[in-house]
Symmetry: C2
Subunit: 463 residues, 2 copies
């Protein structure tokens, strides 16, 4: 476990078997400077402290979201960028209302409290709540098989766990998330009066995890309330249902969808010294869910993206291309910010060459997930030796990120930072996504890794 | 971010550019089974829960250490191993006594409490404590330069921080730890009456970190009390010293070293089907410091090592060589268990072919640190494609582990599990090394990674 000081690094690069140019030596020195600065005088952690602990959860349309817009705009201005501005975007406004309340009721009327939370976008229950028998299913196929006869008038309980044997927890999340997103829409077709969804987490605990859901095109009178139940609660309910299939579940929530409200993407840029009209974007999303600070999802991605531009200013690096940080609004329940940025970029005919997103938490970076063609993927992989001293080794093809994807048709290279994924979904969208879950160095290493790729693409261009 | 089911894996291996044998296919299937079992029906986390929350901190010679011996012996017997036994070893017994107490005193007698803890092995202060002026130094060279004139009668404050720009925090720890280990011995030479050492942590907080220290060969009357001060406390004291160089520091501790007591290494084995007289060892250390549960240091390594043998039994894998789990006693303040095991192995002329240690925390595994020759290093690196689906990529030469190192002269391949290192020293040897710091999946992935290497070496032998 040795450190790699600059001379050793140069030596290593000079005498390694890959072909080495003067560029690679220069690049290795620049990467070392980037990592050093991020780890010794970085600002990401302090910014995240403020966003998490002074502002808090930043659900679109909330006072906190607007505070975060003002705060990050002011902080970007402090960096002395060439331009900082707000890009207006209309966003949905959904509020949770009072704390949800739920219990399981046995034959003799005995009650056990259950930990639930409304899913984002859900309609409320009636004022007095709803109480009904519960039908447990694993997936939509099972729902269809049971049909109207078995489901009408009942609460459908989607209880398919995330798959624990997958190494990337993001894959396990993807494999279970249709229950949350479309469960209510599907169950309503068979006459269900409410939906309970097992929280999307691999950790067994008592905290429910919220997240976006949709009723598709269903008319207002076919929209049924939907809630997440904690993983422990889901296991308990499932066990109890085997013993007492006729038990009843009661829940009450008074969430509400309001008219759309005005909000903003926060944007700052360093104008390119050679290609001012070519744009490279780095970003995360400024909004979060409301149950906690949203420190990992996605406060981390925002402050890491801001740190990329701070590092370039601090190291006096003048990018060839225009480098933009974009703090997108409303990723969680609408993606309006990502869509708006792409729409404006297209309308103004801005040539975007690269976009990088951080929206998988501020854990130790492992590499990147790339959406690009073979030539660009190969070029990025050729930089692997430069990243090796920082233990960055993943350069996989895969999903980049929700907010930059709307630009895909007009951009050659999209990338998502891939941090270690094991802890992320334990806290994601729950009351536990708080500042204390973030490790300062992990956050800083992520920012440095992002800055390094931005630098390399700025220096060497895309294919 | 795709999953790798077995068919895909086989396809990948068959058509990849490296030369692939039937062995590689069989190996890839076995690794998949190992990881699946660890992640879906593993026992490591439950064992660690018991060790941490039912037993607690396990300092050598304590009641808790003996409880841990009995508990792990019983659990190994539950696994149906071929042999489980206790290997007697005499260990030091040092106790902290009442909670340490310290303050900074200004010119007018105003006091500010400081968070300290005695270093392991330190002598106590006199009953009424000691109070003296403070001399801050960064290293032993500075100490020498100041000399007896400036140091005599004072408390020496070693305040060299761990280097934040190193990527492996273990290197940063190594670069700062001589202050803790030998600070008192060195300072006493110039007449210091006590030593304060900045806690070995990269995190700024209020928790002091203990750890082993030594007086070398100094006679009893030249042994001065030594304590760690929290990182926040160290910064505060250092700032204050610049303003008020004549401030005084008071501290009181009543730790004590007792006569050595009897204890044990806990050992279990699956006897080899082909080479019963060739031994492969996997282990961690059962003792811990006393300020917390020692969940990461090194409860994690113990339960991971136990899990390796559980996995082999569960998957009905009959190793060719004899596979031993060894839970070493007294790594923290004496290494008696590691020395005893090596001594006995030599005495009995047991041929050991491989030893693997986990003593860097149960965080996401990144790979291995290898102490071996070029041929074996090359063979291990040739297995990298098998490990790739599990995001294991580090096969570096480096330090293996304290407990297996005494066997080095008689063993060809030593390895240490390399988990992600960013969070480890934040909690290491402090009150924060508790069960809640351990992520279940990270712990399980580490165990599976260890079992995979044990399996591959068992199957293919060493060079």
């Amino acid at each position: 476990m040795k450190n790699f000081p600059i001379p050793t690094l140069i030596f290593f690069l000079l005498f390694s078997t890959i072909s080495i140019s003067q560029n690679a030596v220069q690049d290795s020195i620049m990467l070392k400077k980037i990592y050093n600065s991020a780890l010794t005088d970085g600002k990401a952690y302090d910014w995240l402290d403020y966003l998490s602990n002074e502002i808090g959860g930043r659900l679109s349309g909330s006072f906190e979201a607007e505070s975060a817009v003002k705060y990050t705009e002011a902080e970007l201005k402090e960096l002395g960028l060439d331009k900082v501005w707000l890009q207006p975007v209309m966003v949905p406004k959904w509020t949770r209302g009072f704390k949800e309340y739920a219990y399981i009721e046995g034959d003799a009327g005995e009650k056990t409290i259950a930990n639930i939370c409304a899913l984002g976008g859900s309609v409320p229950t009636p004022n007095l709540g709803i109480k009904a028998e519960v039908v447990e299913v694993q997936n939509f196929e099972e729902l269809e098989k049971l049909g109207k006869e078995k489901i009408e008038g009942k609460i459908v309980f989607f209880n398919r766990p995330m798959q624990a044997d997958l190494i990337h927890t993001g894959s396990a999340y993807g494999g279970a998330s249709n229950q949350r997103y479309s469960g209510a829409e599907q169950a309503a077709k068979y006459g269900a009066i409410g939906v309970l969804v097992r929280s999307l987490s691999l950790k067994m605990d008592d905290s429910p995890h919220t997240g976006a859901m949709s009723y598709g095109d269903a008319p207002a009178n076919q929209r049924i309330p939907a809630a997440a139940i904690s993983t422990n609660g889901a296991e308990y309910l499932s066990t109890l249902l085997k013993l007492k299939p006729n038990l009843k579940f009661y829940f009450k929530q008074n969430c509400k969808t309001w008219d759309d409200v005005a909000s903003y993407n926060v944007i700052g840029e360093i104008t390119g010294s050679q290609f001012p009209n070519k744009f490279m974007v780095v970003g995360g999303h400024l909004d979060s869910w409301d149950l906690a600070d949203g420190a990992q999802d996605d406060g981390a991605g925002c402050v890491q993206s801001m740190e990329v531009l701070r590092l370039f200013k601090k190291l006096n690096y003048k990018p060839k291309n225009t480098i933009r940080v974009v703090l997108f609004m409303n990723e969680e329940n609408g993606l309006r910010g990502g869509l708006k940025y792409a729409e404006e970029a297209k309308r103004k005919n801005e040539k975007h060459v690269f976009a990088l997103e951080s929206d998988s938490g501020g854990y130790t970076p492992r590499g990147f997930s790339l959406e690009t063609d073979a030539a660009n993927a190969q070029q990025i992989r050729s930089w692997e030796p430069l990243f090796r001293p920082y233990l960055i080794h993943l350069f996989d093809e895969g999903y980049s990120g929700a907010d930059i994807r709307p630009m895909k048709e007009n951009i050659t290279v999209l990338a998502g930072l891939q941090p270690d994924s094991q802890r992320y979904f334990d806290i994601h969208h729950s009351e536990n996504d708080t500042f204390d879950q973030v490790n300062k160095r992990e956050l800083e290493l992520g920012a440095a890794t992002m800055a390094s790729l931005m630098y390399l693409i700025d220096m060497h261009g895309v294919k």
